[in-house]
């Protein structure tokens, strides 16, 4: 096997080699660091590399494994974390100039969990400034510059977990941690041809993570497959007394075993007919094939429709008002003017003007929406739809025009805290990936993973990788 292939192996394969001592965590980490040092800057993928920490963790992992203390499938596995997660003593810039020198003296809970299972942090992934909390119009709205898509470096990876997407697609780490308030895990997964899990709201602690819109922010993995996502998710999920928004202790943890029978409970799938108003013809062709696969391996799949209402408006006002509160100090101090995108510089002032009455009315509509979605999930276990109706856009695209199409599923999924798994479902003639998303009821992350795993059992799109030079 070539070293190149090693970078794209699923976690399960790498773990097997590490556990049987055929692969040294130190050598693996050094190889990844070398690759990240060489290719990371070409893609604007990393905010910071952490070679000293990584090698220290790798040496400790190697020593433990040599002494027979194997911690599990993430032991010795290199990963990257979005640069809004606190890592003790390492810069955490939130992708934004005003926070370029910010250093925390503690680890985010997600980082703690991953350290505990022996994963190796090789760096912080670049991101859109403030995770897009104050809006942005261009891919370049990041302290690290526009993240370039490994499938075509003239294209974007999508945001705001833009570096996380580039890192996984280019094989610069075995997996990466991203976050989503609205679209920031699903979109980079689709644009980069990788798998990404947006967990149920409250399933993963956000202690130590930058807050954008606290009632919608979620943390999840981007990886090579649904199986890999599940392995990472099982390590980071769980109640956290330091984050009161996490679900209760008996519902937080996620126990995953790949040997669980995928057919143990036949899933009832609903193919959404109104997730997107217009689908790019190149993507539509791939989706037609994906739909055939879905219907073949999930017999009984029926058409389904999202409820209609002003749900995108509700998601927008929720995000805007909460982000204005999250970044109040930045806005009031005037330092918001240091952000790179003109939209981000002024949006906060406007968002502060929304009234509490309108915000609360939006939350009432959100309550109604949650009931409507509960009714849909009485009929279906999983809803399926294109992750996005387009493929990766050129780096210089004005996102206000090219990515401003209606996204009711994104709004509904994030307002209701629904888990979603995006998996690659084909490549266009220009060799750009398209994604398919599986959305389940809140708390039922397993069904989204089960559907994604089944799809990937019968397709090989997730095994493809770009030629990165």
């Amino acid at each position: 096997m070539s070293t190149e292939e090693l970078f794209y192996l699923p976690i399960s394969e790498v773990a097997k080699r590490i556990e049987t001592k055929k692969l040294s965590p130190v050598e693996l980490t050094q190889t990844y660091l070398d690759r990240a040092t060489k290719l990371g800057p070409k893609l604007n993928a990393f905010a910071t590399l952490t070679p000293e920490l990584a090698l220290e963790q790798a040496k400790a992992a190697e020593k433990e494994i040599q002494h027979g203390h194997y911690r599990g499938p993430l032991h010795g596995i290199p990963y990257a974390a979005k640069d809004l997660l606190a890592v003790k003593g390492v810069p955490t810039t939130w992708g934004a100039k005003p926070y370029a020198q910010q250093i925390f003296d503690y680890d985010a809970t997600v980082i703690e969990h991953l350290t505990r299972v022996g994963a190796i942090l090789i760096g912080k992934a670049s991101m859109i400034e403030l995770a897009g909390g104050l809006g942005y119009r261009f891919a370049s709205a990041s302290l690290q510059g526009a993240a370039k898509n490994p499938w075509d470096t003239k294209c974007w990876t999508c945001g705001s977990s833009s570096g996380s997407g580039a890192i996984v697609a280019a094989g610069l780490a075995a997996f990466a941690i991203g976050t989503e308030t609205w679209g920031s895990i699903v979109c980079p997964s689709a644009f980069c041809g990788i798998s990404g899990l947006r967990p149920t709201y409250g399933r993963v602690s956000r202690y130590g993570a930058m807050a954008a819109a606290p009632s919608m922010d979620k943390i999840g993995p981007l990886a090579r497959s649904a199986d890999d996502c599940a392995r990472v998710f099982s390590a980071i999920a769980g109640h956290d007394f330091k984050d009161r928004s996490t679900v209760p202790i008996d519902r937080g943890a996620f126990t995953y075993s790949p040997s669980l029978d995928l057919k143990s409970r036949p899933l009832k799938l609903g193919w959404l007919t109104n997730a997107w108003q217009h689908i790019d013809p190149a993507v539509a062709k791939l989706l037609a094939a994906a739909e055939k696969t879905v219907r073949k391996f999930f017999p009984g799949t029926k058409s389904a429709a999202l409820p209609e209402g002003p749900f995108e408006d509700v998601a927008n006002i929720t995000m805007n008002v909460e982000a204005a509160a999250s970044f109040r100090e930045l806005i009031r101090s005037g330092r918001v003017s240091e952000l790179s995108d003109p939209t981000s510089q002024i949006a906060g002032y406007l968002n502060e003007q929304f009234s509490a009455a309108d915000y609360l009315r939006a939350q009432s509509i959100r309550e109604i929406l949650q009931k409507k979605m509960e009714a849909i999930f009485e009929v279906f276990d999983v809803l399926v739809a294109p992750a996005l109706p387009i493929v990766a856009t050129p780096l210089e695209t004005n996102l206000e025009s090219a990515l401003s199409f209606p996204d009711p599923l994104g709004a509904i999924g994030n307002l209701c805290g629904l888990p979603a798994l995006s998996v690659p479902c084909g490549f266009t003639d220009k060799n750009l990936p398209a994604g398919l998303q599986f959305v389940a009821r809140a708390g039922d992350d397993y069904s989204a993973i089960q559907a994604g795993r089944t799809f990937q059992l019968h397709t090989d799109w997730h095994r493809r990788h770009p030629k990165v030079i």
Binding site: Y201, P310, D313, D445
Partner: protein, 51 residues
């Protein structure tokens, strides 16, 4: 930007609400979901995990 925000506010203000539609905790349905089957804890179990 204000002009762009106004139609969204109009739609939110005109959406019909009943007296009982006041906002609850954000994800109330999640913590109330008692009626769904629970998940298996280990490999070989017969039903998928729920939580």
């Amino acid at each position: 930007m204000s002009l762009e925000a106004q139609p969204a506010l109009d739609r939110i203000r005109s959406y019909h609400l009943e007296n009982g539609d006041s906002p609850a905790l954000y994800l109330k349905p999640l913590v109330e979901r008692e009626k769904k089957p629970s998940a298996p804890a280990s490999a070989g179990a017969t039903a998928p995990k729920k939580s």
